[in-house]
Symmetry: C2
Subunit: 109 residues, 2 copies
């Protein structure tokens, strides 16, 4: 029996349709300063970044939780390149559902 090798695609975690996410969930995600720091970093980078690229004042497991909350709120998309988990801002989709919100939050601190 051959064990199939897990490809990167297999390990893509579930992502919500941003249109199904409510403002309440988005604000709960953005009210945390560490999560806003992640969003600001991605916004400024304008490219996908692996988790190690973020300098965050929390433990690795707490950081993982924060990325999870942002993914659930439709703010970021995660995928793997080899063993690296990459994170990208869902900027256009988010802008369509919540016009102006991302720029207002990112631009105001």
């Amino acid at each position: 029996m051959v064990t199939p090798q897990r490809s990167g695609q297999d390990r893509v975690p579930p992502h919500p349709d941003v249109r199904a996410v409510g403002l309440q969930q988005v604000l709960e995600a953005l009210v945390d300063p560490v999560r806003r720091q992640i969003v600001r970093t991605l916004y400024a980078a304008d490219q996908d970044l692996n988790c190690g690229a973020f300098v965050l004042p929390v433990s690795k497991s707490t950081a993982t939780h924060h990325f999870h909350v942002l993914r659930e709120a439709g703010l970021i998309r995660q995928h793997y390149i080899g063993t690296s988990r990459m994170n990208g801002l869902r900027r256009e989709e988010f802008e369509e559902s919540f016009p102006g919100l991302l720029r207002a939050v990112v631009g105001n601190e």
Copy 2:
């Protein structure tokens, strides 16, 4: 000895300079759905409203607390007309300090 009569002006509660309020405090104020309801109502009314004009799903004392949090976050200004406590959105001042944020929050639910 004459006890001075309290005028409406005496009962104006303290208001912060919006420029001294941080985004963290603003988001903590806006993450609550009842407080967003108050803000949306004032935004739509485009005039000062007394506390009784809001139909809120909370007790009067809880509502008072929510108005207090909004005032502390620089979002509303409160003053008295007779015994009525009036509430007004500090729209222009807020827009200067947090461009786009109010519209993004009010316009997205």
